[in-house]
Symmetry: C2
Subunit: 217 residues, 2 copies
Amino acid sequence: MERTIDSKLVDVKQDILSMGNHAEVALKIAIEGLLKQDVQGLKSVHENEISINDLQVKIDESCMMILAKEGPVAKDLRMILSIIKMNTDIERMGDQCVNIAYLTKDIIQRGHSFNAGDIEKMSTVVRQMVKLSLESFVNLNNSLAESVLKMDDEVDHFKNSIIAHQIQNIKKNAANAETFLDLVLIARNLERIGDHATNIAEDVIFATSGKDIRHGS
Amino acid sequence: MERTIDSKLVDVKQDILSMGNHAEVALKIAIEGLLKQDVQGLKSVHENEISINDLQVKIDESCMMILAKEGPVAKDLRMILSIIKMNTDIERMGDQCVNIAYLTKDIIQRGHSFNAGDIEKMSTVVRQMVKLSLESFVNLNNSLAESVLKMDDEVDHFKNSIIAHQIQNIKKNAANAETFLDLVLIARNLERIGDHATNIAEDVIFATSGKDIRHGS
């Protein structure tokens, strides 16, 4: 018997969720690697990224098959379009985690002493955004999606505090400027992961309500 | 008479092209604003970004209508999926140009003297990548798309040279560290625009050949 579009959508959603979990784990490991200065631990950031990339290709193929064979309309079509976009956002989260891992390796290899400032706090908020955006997707929960959008200010606050802190460090100890600069770049990577979670939350709101809330429209 | 899918695709492609042109112009203006230290000139970066955002929403709606009403398959379906992704990439190029404009305003307001190093050269290569990726899309030209992928190394080279140059500046003159740091961030924004052009080139290769070349697969 031909499977219905519903059961095919369940499978794709499961893959998106699994991809999102890999991104969450990669983020956790990358930041732990920085805070504990543990190069070995960073290896599994790359392993998680490979799983993310494989899932991205699989999900795109599944979406294309559903579009070609099921000809979805209305809510199902919006859901597929949202999944196609989410897929890209989660893949780029993986890229950002790999960037953090590379910067962390450089930092550890230089051996300069440093204080990561609010990076741990910022990463906790960003990880929460990733988690909630995925939960809002699985449960098609608009209010959860809206709570993700509200966390953006907090991320912004931590990013600014990290930049200010590292600029102070640069002025006090310019010889180690590379390390302080890398910490700023890590804060920017975290910010970007938060942006991707925001995109996912916006996609969830579009998939469930048909409302396109990007660009304040 | 009902219009065919071909003529609808022509319209969407035209919108993508127009959106891409706005991104190219925004990039040009943002970098000119930096090099000429011209805050007034930066205003039209924001105007171009508004046009980009409007087109993004319009293109997504058009793609959804085509999917719902035409039920495209094979090459047409791949084309629509590529356009949906490209649409996101061009919109994010616009965001990066706005970031460059904000950083430039900060730099000009501080009034520190600076040397932008290879930023002009880097931006020329990145603009060329944007231009060629769009041309490869319009003409469905795979070899043009491949030439975009090859320009990535050049962008990387300039980014590394800019970072090294600004770290030297920081070490020589840590009191002005904010400005040198902002120049590094602008180089990262340019790199990101190049990444988006690469994504578009990969989408073109997928749309025309069905080959998914992301992640070296």
